[in-house]
Symmetry: C2
Subunit: 245 residues, 2 copies
């Protein structure tokens, strides 16, 4: 077995994956942030991305359910409540439905997940299965795409406000909230991974987990781009925007 | 609960899903069968479809592993040996690698599954997980896309022989063999589903399982079409044909 990388070297390799493979570089995000998407394309993005949002508490709960370490559980549970809110409501899923309403979708339709692309489902379900089935360390490592999320969210908030009439403080609340939540989460996750990946094999498994996660994000945009942008082949059973009916 | 459909009505509804959603209607198959794919696109299809072939014995083994019914197990085990061959070789996976060599790919590269699209992996893994996690009846029902496969394989053999120089009895052995295997398998599977789906809820669950399976097949072609045909956006890490390098 090769020698373990130093923490600095290992962290640099994790960050390098973001620089090369994070979905901020997908052409669909280019169109979104340049104000080039029409209403139906925006709706398709919001609808499909909801399925991802809805998968997050499932993967986080199964991660906690496999963690013997109480400190990890105490920290990680905040991710579930960040997304699910409390008995009185709130939370990222609810905020995403406010965004959905803002782009002209029926929140009940979005919440039903009818019309979500099969490609979206398979990618998000792959993430849930990964976290459920792989060693805990890799499950934590797969969350580290959050290292790269705040920059994307900052860009997105500014771009949406500039280009799209639906964008305002209410509809964009999801992204604003994530600006503060994600850095706190990922500081813990990164520290955990750096401390628990003790040998080269574990470090490489963490890199593979993060690479897998960038594939999960990228494949969602591929499916969306193919169905709604170019060539625009909507698969049978998927959401059909008004201008394509 | 609504009344159960008659066997004839239930079977007609299963076949209707094929008529509407089977992947013979995907534009990628139109291009393949009209001789419109270049070498790199053909290679991408063979490479990605290998991942599906390789997933089949896994899902069949997990189905058998959950079946109390010895008759089902005795019947179903032939599917595994059809794909895996015996100790002396043979089998569908090996025949697929012969096809891969025929289109100019290194069989060892194909067998490694490096370069397979994330969209392919997620779709095939979704199928394996579905068969592992859902009730046995639904797992059997999800195999019924084989009702529609022989017609597609007949069309394909004729079309490949007409349009592509690589096509001959050796390279197309996979498809020829499936012409006799699939009908025998599916006769058992269809009979099993018709006999064991006793009420409307079970019948509807079987329809949903078959619909899910058509999504698994369709999403693979969507990913392939997006990466290698139109718009031709190859995701990071995926196979890059020679003419795209």
């Amino acid at each position: 077995m090769s020698d373990a990388w130093s923490a600095a070297e290992f962290e640099a390799r994790l960050r390098q994956i973001g620089a090369e493979r994070y979905h901020d570089k997908h052409p669909f995000h280019g169109l979104l942030h340049d104000g080039k998407l029409n209403k139906g394309q925006l709706q398709a993005w919001v609808l499909n991305r909801f399925y991802y949002q809805k998968s997050i508490p499932l993967k986080d709960a199964s991660l906690i359910g496999r963690a013997d370490d109480i400190d990890l559980r105490r920290e990680w549970i905040g991710r579930i409540t960040d997304h699910d809110g409390g008995k009185d409501g709130g939370g990222g899923i609810e905020r995403w439905l406010i965004l959905a309403e803002g782009v002209g979708l029926d929140p009940a339709y979005v919440a039903s997940c009818k019309g979500v692309l099969a490609g979206t489902r398979f990618a998000c379900d792959a993430y849930v299965h990964f976290v459920r089935d792989r060693p805990l360390l890799e499950a934590v490592a797969s969350s580290l795409t959050e290292l790269f999320a705040p920059d994307l969210h900052k860009t997105r908030i500014a771009a949406l406000l500039e280009h799209y009439p639906f964008a305002n403080d209410t509809t964009l609340a999801y992204f604003r909230t994530r600006l503060t939540q994600a850095p706190a989460d990922v500081a813990f996750g990164l520290d955990y991974v750096l401390r628990h990946a003790c040998n080269r094999d574990q470090q490489e498994a963490c890199l593979a987990a993060l690479l897998f996660k960038t594939d999960v994000l990228w494949a969602q945009l591929d499916a969306l781009h193919h169905a709604y942008v170019s060539p625009g082949l909507i698969p049978p059973g998927a959401f059909v925007p008004e201008d394509r009916q």
